[in-house]
Subunit: 173 residues, 2 copies
């Protein structure tokens, strides 16, 4: 069952709505790694064909995966990430880094990311302006132009717009 969050003016809600749940993230993980065919995904994940088909359809409708035919009779497809889908790799990498750090068993991390620089990389979420890590203790959240008071942001909207007004008063523009 899927809660409808389409009315929530929040980019976190919207992104999570696209991923849906852990299975959605695992389908993306597999496609990113190169398991792009229905039967490969079904075998890897052990999801029912019905559930897997529904998830893949929703990813195609959302525009994060696209179907490319690799056989015509019967029609068979690779599911490959679009540019919009490929950018979710950052989210997946951030989830993986947190899980490696806080949820790995004694054996160590289940998988590693090799970056083009040659290193085994751990994802770090940074500020695009200064390059330093974005940590909870080094940020403040302010209202944005698309913010609304409404379901999912009933108090938050007010709180953030008060903060933004204060920030405008106290910080040089």
């Amino acid at each position: 069952m899927r809660t409808d969050l389409s009315g929530v003016h929040c980019s976190i809600a919207r992104s999570m709505q696209v991923l849906h749940d852990a299975w959605g993230a695992l389908i993306l993980r597999d496609v990113f790694v190169g398991l792009t065919r229905f039967d490969q995904l079904q075998q890897d994940l052990g999801l029912s064909r019905k559930v897997l088909a529904a998830r893949l359809d929703s990813f195609v409708v959302e525009g994060i995966l696209e179907k490319r035919a690799y056989a015509e009779h019967p029609p068979r497809y690779d599911y490959v990430p679009t540019a919009k889908g490929a950018e979710l790799f950052g989210v997946i990498a951030a989830l993986m880094a947190w899980g490696d750090r806080w949820k790995a068993d004694k054996a160590g991390p289940p998988a590693r990311i090799r970056h083009d620089c040659g290193a085994l990389a751990t994802a770090r979420v940074t500020c695009d302006q200064c390059g330093e890590p974005l940590l909870l203790e080094t940020v403040a959240t302010e209202a944005g132009p698309g913010g609304r008071l409404g379901p999912g942001t009933r108090m938050l909207g007010k709180l953030l717009s008060q903060r933004s007004k204060q920030a405008r008063k106290t910080t040089p523009m």
Copy 2:
């Protein structure tokens, strides 16, 4: 209903299992911003008290939030992020950046992150070794020591360990 993914040897699955779904991410968002009390969360999100209480309990059991009493009669608590919970801010910021880029309406992003450097920041997921962005086209995934063939990684485990063997053959150590 929550699928049990505890047997899946994958850090992405484990992290998503902790977040659970979009509501889990929104509870964390609110706590990170400073809405730390049950009634504030309930009012902001419009979740039923029963569902919200269950989510908060699961976050406390998981060790990502901790309860701090702010009143004794009746007992009332702030839910504040632990170190483990605070590190999920990176995941939330990456979700927000993707949603801002691909799902914002015409008005623009609903909220903004002000970084301590002074800039309005967009989260960028980077390699902790070289500082460059971790993009799908600049990474390869390899097997890690905690990887297993099993539910959720039936084909992936094999694929990654083949790749790691190849990488050991072709890259200088």
